[in-house]
Amino acid sequence: MNIDLLAVEEAAKMLYIRALKMLPPDIKDGLGRLQQAETGATAQSILGTMVRNIAVAEETDNLLCQDTGIPIYNITIGRDVQVDGFELQQAIRRGCARATREHPLRSSVVHPLTRRNEHTSCGIGVPVIHIGFDETPETLTLEMIPKGSGSENGSFLRMAIPAEGVDAIKTFVIDCVLAAGGKTCPPTIVGVGLGGTSDLVVALAKRAATRALGSRCADPDGAALEAELSQAVNRLGVGPQGLGGDATAFAVQVELAATHITMNPIAVNMQCHSARRARATFAPAGLSYGF
């Protein structure tokens, strides 16, 4: 299958706008579950406002949140797909800039030293583009995540050691949720990365934070830890917006990798309640959009 790069550019543009306006069904369902379980009056009122906002965004065709985030594109290339990798990246960049200029969207991206904003949502190394491969025949998928800064600033790395064991992991996750308080716009998805190297563990935490609700860590021990920590964080009382309540997190989600015999790396990355993502799939039958 040959990939039309003009179609990729257009999809990269559409995905950014679509992600900012439409929440995935798993997140909407998650909010509904948190509403049912919530016992706090202030917390109930806040969750109600969040649900109302989703409806207003859809009715007015507006962005859910003012934060257009740091644009992230996760590309998965299946088997028997012919595409020029360099040109693919350029097409995604152009689509991202076009979404920003043509909608228009607030460009939230600046140079880290000069703080200069190019007003394209692009800059050195941004949009963040990850390219991976899988065995699905003749399929190319683009997943777009506008990562809001409130939750992204709630990112933590700890290079624990083997003697600290799993206790260090559990303690670190709990303490990160407490340190984040209301700043990460809870209820959040708490993404936990375990193992690997310092860079890989942070990437795993981001992948965990941006996975669909209801999905499970492929590793059974990781999945068991997810279930245990998901229960625990909602007993801390942080609540929606850090104003108290049961609904601190939709879930704790874990991704892990093997690590060194001397290492026990832990990373936490959070996703806010406006857990936005959008997906485009190129296949021989054509292009389709989803979450």
């Binding site: 109302r52 906002n53 949140c65 003012q66 409130g150 209301g182 625990a232 007993r235």
Partner: protein, 203 residues
Amino acid sequence: MTHHVLDMPIDEAQVRALRINDTATLRQTLFGIRDATQIHLFDRGRRTAMDLKGHAVIHTAPNVRKVERSTEHPAGYAPICIGTTTSDRMERFTQPLMEREGVRLIIGKGGLRDGSSQAFAQLGGAYLAIVGGTAALETTWIERIEEVDLDDLNPESLWRFSIRDFGPLLVAMDSHGGSLYRTVQADNAARRAEVLASLGVKA
């Protein structure tokens, strides 16, 4: 718990009447301010001709469309999506914002710290919590972008909005030392040991 309808600007007596857990709806005028706006105003000595005395500021950097100036768009900008950002990053600007510019109310999400609580008590101010990530709804409370200053910092310019029934907002920090965030954080810290024990973590 009282609901206050405030026609902005307000005086010290009006802000001192606000208590935590009260709610407030604002009318008339609201200013938008952000990290870069305050870094330039207070660290780099820039000034604005806008009069913020007695007013409310919201921690924001809006999505706007540049348009021809008109009665509907006097600043040459049409609002697209206006919401709020995490306030904590701007903690150190509360005092100068109140002292130099005369601001009475700060609207944001996630709360401010003890330094801001002290400034609210000394100078007469309060923090109103808006629900973060609900900008589509909040945009319907904005009538117009009336004026813009420090626009080289766009989108982190200083914005003046005209508003219609902006709220209800929750009084989360008041001028009497009350802070819902401090109360919640103390409660959360007290639960930590029990939660860790339930996870089998050895003390």
